[in-house]
Amino acid sequence: MTGTPTSEVPMVHADRVSKSFGSLEVLKSISLTVNRGEVLCLVGPSGSGKSTFLRCINHLERVDAGRLIVDGELIGYVERGDRLYEMHPREAARQRRDIGMVFQRFNLFPHMTAVENVAEAPIRVKGMKKDDAYARARELLARVGLASRADAYPAHLSGGQQQRVAIARALAMEPKLMLFDEPTSALDPELVGEVLQVMKQLAESGMTMIVVTHEMGFAREVADSLVFMDGGVVVESGDPREVLSNPQHQRTRSFLSKVL
């Protein structure tokens, strides 16, 4: 059902995605498309549903209505005939392998060193040989500028370093898509730059990325498109430079005036 990935198939296609927590409707019919190699920044006030949407893309949250399709493959459900079946957890895990995720609070495994954090999933999930996985993990840590801290435990790393390890950990699974959930919001201001720098390099290398962020400078410089969400709907989207300098909607304007 995957088919051969062709450049015409978008990396992410959301078609009228809705999601509620109890009676609270968090996402109201979100539709958007992210093409291969594109960087999309999701911005919006707290509680606008942007993080929930991101978590739906790798099925950490289940979608109530609509379709989420990543690389031509429906996420979380199997369509047979005209019926939808819930996906077996094993299948869902297989889908997640190809989607890297970076969390606001890093969520590194505290009982493992940086290099063990990065090598864990390739060894246990992909069945990679230990030596190969560790060599590759050290390469990735070098890529995020942490070659010398490979054997440190997360508790002994700064927030910025921890988040860079988390990025390396996600990259170790060789994902085709990277999701960033407010990757710099838990960082002290002076540590934000180093993480954004790594993300920028990643974007330049051609990785498809969806970034929930409040860093408008990053959005302006790196993103190919920007989506402004509020109250569970897409209010405005387009070229980040245009949206940021000339917002069309009142809600966008009032949000940006507080942020910029």
Binding site: G100, H111, E182, K200, E221, S245, L260
Partner: protein, 316 residues
């Protein structure tokens, strides 16, 4: 002002405050302890000669070994069963959850002495063990009393009771691990079992180990209740039997107590080192960062990322 130390004040040399009440109390305590020891040494009923005679008696040391085996076997079973029960309690399935809850309710709500007596009567309640399809002629049938001896009945009784307590300890440990850990593992494509084994349980250990150590020590002492089964080759049972034989109960109580104390002391030392080991490295990591500065505080982008759009940003 003294030369050379223009800014530093003279160290304080004050007269120490006296605590006469404390000193008197300590002296009284010491005196009472000394009186007790001197008196006990001369008191006939303690039977010091018999204590010396039986403390290393072969029957006693054999019984001490039995007590250790009871402790080890029942704790091992209890830990495994406790992990299973705790996972069942955290299940989404209401039946699985309910059954685990029922188990805990029954086994924590009744005295272990009564439970042990029940296990002793198992051969009376179920005289045969049949293997096969229910309501059909069994394929295999055993006489219960021929299959399980009282030692194993004691182990089962102790283990099933302890499992209920272990389940709560393990559950607390699992719940203490940050939810983000499971999410991170899931996002990496790790399945539930792998996530538990590699990510959640190793971190839960820090919470699980200390109370489990207490449970082991507690179990060692609880084994003295196996008389209810009745199994009497444990430390206390054997000491009691010998006491009846020689018509001198007190020294044998002391013999048993000395052995129990020896074992619990060793276990306490072991626990100290285990705790130290499992709190290593993991330590502070969980709460290094406050939870999200989130939306209302927006840090300014620093470094090269902003410079490109500086002009445009200023223009607005």
């Amino acid at each position: 002002m003294p030369p050379g130390g223009a800014d530093t004040a003279e160290p304080i040399r004050a007269i120490r405050l006296k605590h006469p009440g404390r000193i008197v109390f300590a002296a009284v305590l010491l005196l009472m302890l000394a009186l007790f020891v001197i008196d006990a040494a001369q008191r006939e009923a303690y039977g010091w000669d018999n204590l010396a005679k039986y403390i290393f008696d072969k029957r006693i040391s054999q019984a001490a070994l039995n007590t250790l085996l009871l402790t080890i076997y029942s704790m091992a079973i209890a830990i495994v069963l406790g992990v299973v029960l705790s996972v069942m309690r955290l299940s989404d399935n209401p039946v699985v959850k309910g059954v685990a809850w029922l188990y805990l309710w029954v086994f924590r709500g009744t005295p272990v002495y009564v439970q042990l007596a029940f296990w002793g009567l198992i051969a009376t309640i179920y005289s045969t063990i049949d293997i096969g399809i229910p309501f059909m002629e069994p394929w295999l049938s055993f006489e219960t009393k021929n299959v399980i001896d009282v030692f194993w009945l004691a182990v089962i009784g102790l283990a099933l009771n302890e499992a209920a307590y272990m389940a709560e300890i393990v559950r607390a440990g699992i719940l203490s691990v940050d939810k983000g850990q499971e999410e991170a593992a899931t996002a990496l494509g790790m399945g539930w079992l792998l996530t538990m084994r590699r990510v959640v349980l190793p971190q839960a250990m820090r919470i699980i180990i200390p109370p489990t150590g207490n449970e082991v020590i507690s179990m060692l002492k609880t084994t003295s209740l196996v008389a209810a089964v009745p199994f009497s080759f444990d430390l206390y049972g054997r000491a009691r039997d010998i006491a009846v034989e020689i018509f001198d109960p007190v020294p044998l109580l002391l013999v048993a107590s000395a052995w129990y104390l020896l074992f619990t002391s060793i276990l306490m030392i072991g626990q100290y080192f285990l705790e130290r080991r499992f709190s290593r490295g993991v330590g502070q990591a969980r709460d290094t960062r406050r939870v999200g500065t989130a939306t209302d505080v927006i840090p300014t982008v620093t470094g090269s990322v902003t410079t490109a759009d500086k002009a445009e940003g200023d223009g607005r």
